[in-house]
Symmetry: D2
Subunit: 355 residues, 4 copies
C-alpha cells in the first residue's frame, strides 16, 4: 500500500492546494483507512483556511465524506475491506471521561472529538484515516446514495442536534436564525421533533424558499422586517418555546434571547469565531431570572447516531440532497472551495466526486 495520493490541503493560512501525500500507513489496532468516494465542502473548511483555528501546514481539509473501507486494524471487528461506509465529522474515542459522561464531542478536552482537518488530516484526499473504527464507521444502507449519506456527517447531525437541544415541545413554537445548510437541517429537525410552528429567518430569498420547501411554516426576511417584532406577533406576544442560532454571530444570538419565552430554550448551533465576549441582553434575559436556558453543541458523531440519521433518509423523512447546489470532480476541488467562499453562482453545498 505504499505510494502517494492526491490531497487537498491548507498549505498555510489563506492558501490551499492539491498536493501529493503518502497514502496512510497501516492503521493502529482500532483504526481504519478509507478510500474516499464522495465528500461535501463545508463553510467551516473556508473558515479554517482563513485562520479560524490557527496556523496549519499542508493539513488535509475536509470532514464530510464517505468511501470504501480499505484496511482495518487488528482489533476492529465490525468492518472489513470493501464495506461502503460513512464517517461523521466528529470521531471520538468513546472511552475518556467526557465520552463516558455522554459528551463525546468533547472527547478528552473541549471540542476534542473534532479531529479531521483540525488535529489530523481530513478527508479531502484519496485515502483517509479514521480512529476507533468500530464506533466511527457506519454502513450505508443500499438505497441511500453516497451524496445523501455525506449529509449525515455534519449538516444533519449538527442541525438536528440543534433542534434536539432546543427542547422542542410537541405542537410548540420554534425559530431558526440563519438558513444555511445547518440552519435548514435545524428547521427540518424542529419539524421532525414535533414543533407546531417553525419560523425561518434569513435575508437570502433562495434560502427562505428552500426553508419553505423543507417545511418551515413561516419565513421572515430580516432585510425587510424586524424579525423580533415579527416573531412576537406570530406568537401573540409570548415568544417561542425554542430558538436556534445557526449563524455564529452576536445579533442572531441576541435575537434568540429576545424572542424566547420564559422557560424556553436558546440552542446555539453556530460557531462563534470573533470577539472576546458574546453579549446577553440583560432585560430580555429576564435579569437572570426568566428561566431561559442557553445550550450549545458540537456535531455529535458515532455509528449509533449515524444509523438513525441514515434511517431518516431511508424512510423518507428528509431528503438532504435538495441542498446540493453543485457537483465537482475531485480535480476541481480547489475551484469548488473558493466558490464556497464567495457563494458565487448561488453556491450552497457542493458535492465532490472522487471517482
Amino acid at each position: 500500500m505504499a505510494g502517494t495520493m492526491k490531497a487537498f490541503v491548507m498549505r498555510r493560512i489563506g492558501e490551499v492546494g492539491v498536493i501529493a501525500k503518502p497514502i496512510p500507513a497501516d492503521p493502529g489496532p482500532n483504526d481504519a483507512i478509507i478510500k474516499t468516494r464522495t465528500a461535501l465542502i463545508c463553510t467551516s473548511d473556508v473558515h479554517t483556511v482563513k485562520g479560524a483555528i490557527g496556523e496549519r501546514t499542508d493539513q488535509t481539509l475536509g470532514h464530510e465524506a464517505c468511501g470504501i473501507v480499505d484496511r482495518v486494524g487488528s482489533a476492529v471487528t465490525l468492518f472489513k475491506p470493501g464495506d461502503r461506509i460513512v464517517v461523521n465529522a466528529i470521531t471520538p474515542c468513546y472511552k475518556c471521561h467526557n465520552c463516558q459522561r455522554g459528551f463525546t464531542s468533547q472527547c478528552g478536552q473541549p471540542l476534542g472529538g473534532w479531529k479531521f482537518a483540525n488535529i489530523k488530516d481530513g478527508s479531502f484526499a484519496e485515502y483517509f484515516h479514521v480512529n476507533d473504527a468500530d464506533a466511527n464507521l457506519t454502513m450505508i444502507p443500499e438505497d441511500v446514495s453516497d451524496e445523501a449519506a455525506c449529509y449525515t456527517t455534519d449538516m444533519m447531525s449538527t442541525g438536528f442536534k440543534g433542534a434536539e437541544n432546543a427542547d422542542i415541545v410537541l405542537g410548540g413554537t420554534a425559530v431558526v436564525f440563519g438558513m444555511g445548510p445547518v440552519g435548514q437541517m435545524a428547521a427540518v429537525g424542529a419539524r421532525l421533533l414535533g414543533a407546531g410552528l417553525v419560523i425561518a429567518v434569513d435575508k437570502v430569498p433562495r434560502r427562505l424558499e428552500l426553508a419553505k420547501e423543507y417545511g418551515a411554516d413561516v419565513v421572515i426576511n430580516y432585510g425587510e422586517k424586524d424579525p423580533v417584532e415579527e416573531i412576537m406577533k406570530l406568537t401573540n406576544g409570548d415568544g417561542v418555546d425554542s430558538a436556534m442560532e445557526a449563524v455564529g454571530a452576536q445579533i442572531p444570538l441576541e435575537n434568540c434571547i429576545k424572542v424566547t419565552r420564559p422557560g424556553g430554550t436558546i440552542s446555539n448551533i453556530g460557531y462563534h469565531g470573533e470577539g472576546e465576549y458574546l453579549n446577553i441582553p440583560r432585560a430580555e434575559w429576564g435579569v437572570g431570572m426568566a428561566e431561559k436556558t442557553i445550550k450549545t453543541l458540537l456535531c455529535p458523531g458515532g455509528s449509533e447516531r449515524m444509523t438513525r440519521l441514515l434511517r431518516l433518509i431511508e424512510n423518507g423523512r428528509v431528503d438532504p440532497t435538495k441542498m446540493t447546489s453543485h457537483h465537482f470532480s475531485f480535480d476541481d476541488v480547489e475551484k469548488a472551495f473558493w466558490m464556497m467562499d464567495t457563494k458565487e453562482d448561488n453556491m450552497f453545498k457542493p458535492v465532490i466526486h472522487f471517482e
Copy 2:
C-alpha cells in the same frame, strides 16, 4: 336559565337513555357552563356503561366535546359567554400537590383529573359544567372545525402522550400495538416526535390501512404473522427503542416488553380493566436488569396542551377527522352508542352534532 335539557345518561350498569335533566345552575366562582355543539363517543363510554368504573345512576356520559361558553363564574377572567371552546376529557384543579408536581391527571388522587362521566356529569347533554374554567377551556382557532377540535380532547392528547412517554429517539424505532383511534394517534405522535421507523400492529385490515395513511412505515397483521418475530426481524434482532400498548390487555403489554431493546421504553396507553395482575415476562424483561422502562399515562388536559394540539391541526401536521367514520344528530346518540359497542358498519369514531 332554569329549565331542563336533554342528557344522554347511564341509567345503571348496562342501561343508557336520553332523559331530561335540569340545566346546570350558575357555576362556582372558578367554573363555567358550556352549551354543547359537537361531541365524540369514546369506547371508554361503552366500558363505563358495562360497569368498568362501578355503578352510576343517571350520570351523563361523554368527555370529548366542544361548545359555546354560556356562563362563567365570578373569578373566571379569560373567557366570556359566546366564546367557542373545547374542553379536554381531563379537568384538573391545577392547585393540589399532584397538580403542582406536574401530574395533573392524578389531580388529588390516582386518576383524579378524570371527572366527566366519572365523578360528575359528562358532556353528552345540551349543557355541561366545567371546573376551573380558566385552565380547562381553550379557544378554538377560527380555521379549526368543531369536529377536529373534539379530537384533541382525548384521542390526540392521549395518543400523543403515549408517544411522548415512549422516549422516541430521533430516527429511532417505534411500534404501536392496537390501532384503534388512540393507537392511530400514538403512531402519528411517534412520527411527529421523530421516529425513523414506525410499526403498527392490529388485525383489522381497515385499521392497518388507516395507519399507513397516517404514516406508519410498516404494518403487521397479528392475525397472520407473529408480531414479535416480525418486529425483531425488522430491527435486525435489536428490538425497538419505543413500544406503545394501546389496547389495555395482557398480550400486547407482554409483546411490548418482548420487542423493546435494552434501554428502551414501554409506554402503556391502554386502560387495563381486568384481572388481579398484569404479568411481566421475566426473561424478556431482562430479569429486572435490562433497563427497559415501563411508563403509564392518563390523558393530559389543560389549555396549554390543548393550544399546542390545536396548533398541530391548524398547521397541517395531522388531520384527526380521517378517523371519523359516522355522523349523528344528538337525537340518535343512543343508536351511535350501541354501534360503538358492536363496531357495526365499521364504526370507528362517531361525531355527534347537537345543532
Copy 3:
C-alpha cells in the same frame, strides 16, 4: 375586621417608613388574609427601595413570612382561620399557560409569580393578603419553628433550586460563587443533591466559615487567591460539573463559565440589576460548542415544594437558622432594614418578630 394596621413600606425610591394602612378587606374567593407572626428581611428588599424595580408609593415591603390564617375566601378548601402557615415569596396562579408549562415563577409573564412587594403589598405588615391560598399556603409542622419556616420562603427555595438547576452529578464537583444566604443554601443544596466536592467562593471570612459549617469541602477567598485558577487546580484541570452564580454580577458569572467543564452546567441564581448586557467569555464558552449550558431561575413557590423544604428541616437535613444573625421586634424593622443595607454589625439575616 375594618381598622388599620402598621405596615413597613417603601414610601418612594430611597425612603421607607412604618405607616398605618387599612387591614386588608375580605379576600376574593380563592384568597386568604394572614396575620403575620415572623418575617425575614431580604437583601432584595433593600434593592427594591433603591429603585431596582422602579418607583413605588407606600407599597408594603417583605416577601419572607409566616403567620396565622385570619380569613379565607369562599372557594378555599384546605385552610381555615387559626392555621399556622408559611407562604413562599412567589405566589403563582397555577392556571395560566406558563404555570401549566411548569414555569410557575413566570406566572402570566416573565417573573410574574413575584407579586409580594412588587405588584402588591408585601408581608411586612400586621396582616397580608395571599392569592390562590390552597396552593400558596403551607401548614408548618409542629416541630418546625416560625423562624426556620421563614427560610423556606426564599433562601432555601431559591438556593436549592440553584443547585437543582446545576445538574449536580452524584459524586460530581460543584462550586458556588457568593456565600450570602442564598449562596449558602445553594452549597447546602449541592451537598443534599449528592455533589462529591463542594467549593465555596467569597471574600468575607465569616461567610466562608459558615460555608464550612454547612458542609462545603473547600472554601476559596477570592480576595486572596484567583478562584478560577484554584478551582481548575482542585479539579485536575477539568473544571467543575456545576457552577452556581449567587451574586448577580458580571465577574462571578464569567468565572462560572470559565470553571465549568465541557458538558457542565452554569446555574445563575443572582439577580442581575445593572448594565445593558451580561458578557459571556467566548473562548471559555467553547466558541459556542463546548456544551456548557446556562440556566436561570426565580424562586419556585407552591405548597408542594414548601412541604418538601419543611420536611428537610424537620428531618434534620438542614438547619437554616444558623444563618440568623439578629432578632428584632417589628417596632425596630426600619433599623433592621438599614442594617441590612450596611451589613453593620455583621448583619447576615435578621428575623422580625411581630408579637
Copy 4:
C-alpha cells in the same frame, strides 16, 4: 509471565474449589492484566454457583476487586504496571450501539456489560484480565483503602444507581425494600440525592440497625408490621415518591408498586431469578394510568463513574466499610463463600485479602 496461579472457581453447578490456572497471557491491545490485592464476595457469586446463569466449568468467580496493574496492551495509554486500580463489576466496550446510547451495562446485548464470572473468568484469582482498560480501570486515590475501593465496584455503583433511577425528589419520600448491602447503598444513595424521608424495610434487626446508622429516617421490620400500611401512614396516605426493590422477589416488587404515589417511580434493583412472570398488581398500578414508572438497572461501570464514587468516599460522604462483617485471606475463600450462602455468624460482606 508464564506460570500458574490459584483461582477460586465454579467447577460446575453446586461445586466450587481453588484450582491452578495459567496466569493470563499478555492482554490484547486495549486490555490489561491485574494482580489482585483485595476482593469482596457478592451474594450473586453464590447464585451463580447455584445455577442462576446456567452451567459453567472451572470458571473463576468474583467481580468486586482491586489490585495492581501488571501488564497493559499496546493501545492502553492511561495506565502502566504498578498502578493501584479498581475495576467495576461491569466492563463494557463503550463502542457498540448500546454503549453509545448510554446503556453501557447492556453492552452488545441485554446485560452484556457483565463479563466477569459470566462470559469470562472473574477476579477471585491471583491475576485477572480486564478488557478496554483505559475506560475500565480507575486509579484509587491515596487516602482510599483497598477495602473501601472494592465497594465501589458493585455495592455502591448498583445501590446508588438504584437511587438515581428512583427519581428522588429534593425533600421527597423514598423507601428501600431489602437491606442487604445493595439495599443499604440504595438508602444511602437516596439520602445523598436529597430525599427528605428515607424508609428502610427488612426483617433482620441488624440490617435495620445498620440502615439507621447509614441515615435511614425510619425502619420497618416487615416481620412485625405490614410495610405497605406503615408506609402509607408515614406519608399521610400519599405513598412515596420513590420506591426501590433491592431483593429480587415478587412481594417486595409488588409492595413497591403499592406504596408509590401517582407520578412516582419504582426502581427495581434486585435480580429476579425465578418464575416465568413478575406480577404487577393491576389496581395499585392505577389500571395502567397512574403514571407510576418502573425502571430497572444493571450496575453501571466505567472509570468516570468510579472516579465519582471514590470521591464520595474520599470526601466523607459515605463509609462503605461499615458493611464489612468479616475478613479472610485468599486461602480461606471457599470457607468465606459458603458462609456467604448460609449467612452464618451474621455474615454480611466478607473481604478477601490476597497478600
